[in-house]
């Protein structure tokens, strides 16, 4: 009987497929939150596997800050075409134009926190009762306590101290009108697992993850890409470096690392030797010790 066990990647995959099918069975109107980053790409790949030979039976939703890498948007549009699913876009620029939110000011201003309003507005507008995300518990200490099925009240807020207990694999997605859920199929995956899985399944990812030459500025311990949105300070210098990105967020806050990893194999080797967490290059998490928890409570991803 000894061959009847799964290796850990197969077990994680099986668990994620189970979660995605539960979402489909328990909710009327779910979406996948698709950022164009590797985690949401993996979730989308898993959804493809979960429902085959049917198409993914729900739309992908992108919260567009307007501060995108052009490569991410091209990638998004391609994947939508090849999957034949609907794309819903929530636009932060529109939220700003409508006066729903105000731009942050100052050198380190970002649109990161503004996404919360746009996301919640889009969820309400499209009557979404479950938003599936690529959040992982290993990413950040507040996420370590996240459930697979995570309840949000009618203000879209997370109450971490009053979460529904989640036992075995029995998920309770019951909710009242106006409330919604977040579902996290890859909760139990680490960054390493995601990369090993991308390699094993040969999943296509944006070119930004591979080492490439780019104009960058050294800021807050990482290489911030030059873009039309970046205000260059007097003491800063634009240089060309061979870099790659470990995570993809807004072009204004996502720092790259110097790297020669231009194939998936090399990326996996590089990540396995990393001594810094991937969010170490994200200035949005550096604002305070509980920055992530505070944003999540308000409705962040």
């Amino acid at each position: 009987m000894s061959k009847y066990y799964l290796n850990y990647l197969d077990e994680l995959e099986s668990e994620a497929i189970f979660v995605l099918r539960e979402v489909w069975a328990q909710f009327d109107n779910p979406v996948i939150l698709f950022s164009g980053g590797k985690d949401s790409i993996v979730v989308t790949h898993l959804a493809k596997k979960a429902f085959y030979p049917s198409k993914i039976p729900f739309p992908l939703m992108h919260v567009d800050t307007g501060h995108n890498f052009p490569e991410t948007i091209a990638f998004r549009d391609n994947i939508i075409k090849s999957l034949g699913v609907q794309l819903i876009v929530g636009s932060v620029q529109e939220s700003i134009d409508q006066g729903r939110v105000a731009e942050e000011k100052g050198k380190n201003a970002t649109r990161n926190a503004l996404q919360i309003t746009t996301l919640l507005d889009a969820i309400e507008e499209h009557n979404i009762d479950c938003a599936i995300g690529g959040g992982r518990r290993d990413e950040e200490k507040a996420r370590a306590k996240e459930r697979f099925f995570s309840h949000r009240d009618d203000f879209g807020q997370w109450d971490p101290k009053n979460q529904r207990p989640e036992l075995w694999n029995i998920f309770n997605g019951k909710h009242f009108e106006g409330e919604h859920f977040r579902a996290f199929p890859i909760s139990n995956w680490t960054e390493m697992d995601v990369w090993n899985y991308i390699l094993r399944e040969n999943i296509e990812i944006p070119s930004l993850y591979y080492a490439h030459e780019r104009e960058v500025v050294w800021r807050q311990n990482s290489w911030i890409p030059k873009s039309q949105f970046l205000k260059i300070e007097e003491n800063e210098e634009i240089v060309v470096k061979k870099i790659r990105f470990r995570t993809l967020g807004d072009i204004t806050i996502t720092g790259g690392i110097e790297s020669d990893a231009d194939t998936l194999e090399k990326i996996v080797m590089e990540v396995s030797a990393m001594r810094q967490t991937e969010r170490g290059n994200r200035s949005d998490d550096k604002r305070s010790e509980t920055a992530m928890e505070d944003r999540k409570k308000q409705g962040y991803f």
């Binding site: 429902f51 370590a144 909710h175």
Partner: protein, 417 residues
């Protein structure tokens, strides 16, 4: 990339005092699973709090309230990998008022680590944690006798704890118990073998976790396939395709097998087993697959595919060890939604048989109230039959939760006796 290694989930229960956070910090630190920026963050906090050196326990701190109060309130999940295995730690609080969190963390665990302070021996908390491990049928229990440095690494102190533990645990259903003398603070026998305890011939904790035999933890004998959803693509090439999507909950299913579909009882044969575009000859727990059958039978979510000669009990009356999870106590004769695999019905708690004092393990037949953190044996009646196995035979088809329809909250979790 190591491709043949398994995933092991273990739970740790305990409070700050018995060094649980230090132990987890030590496991992560010595197995090189802590990143530099995480280490810098806890170094900064250690200094702020005026600790000497790095307080490894800080690594497991989570939410703002927990950091402020210095205790774990909720279940937190931690991850680390060694060349042999991937590990998921469900880190739970140990105090009696958090019994429900311990139960939650224990529900998916292959192994439980129970910490005993070598100076104090077996105490109430040890009994409580061991009882929960046995109630939730965690297959492997590792008793870590911690703070050996504070008893001069004495073999006698270690043996005293073992004797105390064996005395009370003989009444419990724990199949595999091991004892390891450790010092989480200094690292003895956590990842590296202790230089201070030559008398201990066993393996350090990490090596034990890496080599536990867990392939038999899941039932591979009784085939059970709860249907989650039906796939009907209705597109070119798949016009007549009707796939039953689910995760195998027990046993092995093979192409060509004769099967029965419950509750209807209709029989058919497995035509194909698919995972994405791959066709498989067989599927076993816990694989997620899609199954097609030779015959067109009406099957929907909540049904279960099994073998005709090996069926679960189809019953409306179940006896359950119930853990009450919610602040609001149970209302007498109230109706709840009951969830069992992918099946959902209405249910009523008909009778409380007894309540267990989880410190003394005594049964109380007088007190019939169901309040938060209580563990009781109850009789439940459902509106329609559930297809159940005893929890000790199958943790998936032997478990239920109760949901209060007025609040939508999960109020209780149960193990079918």
């Amino acid at each position: 990339m190591v491709d043949n290694n398994q995933l092991l989930r273990f739970t740790t229960a305990g409070s700050v005092d018995d060094g649980k956070s230090t132990l987890i910090g030590r496991l992560l630190y010595d197995s090189k699973s802590i990143f530099e920026d995480q280490l810098e963050a806890i170094e900064t906090t250690s200094k702020k709090k005026g600790h000497d050196g790095v307080d490894l326990a800080l690594f497991t701190d989570g939410l703002r309230d927990e950091r402020e109060q210095g205790i774990t309130i909720d279940v937190a999940y931690r991850y680390f990998t060694t060349p042999k295995r991937k590990f998921i730690i469900a880190d739970t609080p140990g105090h009696i008022q958090y019994t429900r969190n311990m139960v939650t963390g224990a529900s998916t665990a292959n192994a439980a680590i129970i910490l005993v302070d070598a100076r104090h021996g077996v105490i109430e908390q040890t009994r409580r944690h061991s009882f929960i491990a046995s109630l939730l049928q965690i297959p492997h229990v590792i008793v870590c006798i911690n703070k050996m440095d504070l008893v001069d690494f004495s073999e006698e102190a270690y043996n005293t704890v073992i004797n105390q533990f064996e005395e009370f645990s003989s009444k419990m259903m724990v199949k595999d118990v091991r004892f390891i003398p450790i010092s989480a603070l200094l690292g003895d026998n956590v990842v590296n073998r202790s230089q201070n305890m030559d008398w201990y011939q066993g393996a350090p904790l990490l090596h034990t976790l890496e080599t536990l035999h867990i392939s038999s933890d899941i039932n591979k004998v009784d085939a059970r396939f709860p249907v989650q959803t039906v796939l009907r693509p209705q597109r070119d090439g798949f016009i007549d395709y009707r796939g039953y999507a689910g995760r195998v909950a027990g046993g092995v299913l093979r192409k060509g097998d004769e099967v029965a579909v419950l509750p209807s009882g209709f029989t058919s044969k497995i035509k194909s087993i698919n995972l994405y575009d791959k066709e498989l000859d067989e599927a076993y727990a816990p694989m997620s697959v899609a199954i097609t059958l030779e015959d067109d039978i009406d099957i929907s979510r909540g049904d279960m595919i099994v073998r005709p000669n090996n069926r679960p009990d189809a019953t409306q009356d179940i006896e359950v060890m119930l853990c009450w999870l919610h602040n609001n106590p149970a209302k007498p004769r109230a109706k709840y939604s009951i969830r069992h695999t992918s099946n959902e019905q209405k249910a009523m708690i008909k009778e409380v048989i007894y309540k267990i004092n989880i410190n003394t393990l005594e049964r109380n037949i007088e007190d019939k109230s169901l309040t938060m953190n209580d563990i009781l044996k109850v009789k439940i009646r459902t509106t329609k039959p559930l297809m159940v196995d005893a929890y000790r035979e199958n943790r998936t088809t032997g478990s239920i939760i109760l949901v209060d329809d007025t609040t939508n909250e999960t109020v209780a979790a149960g193990m079918i006796v």
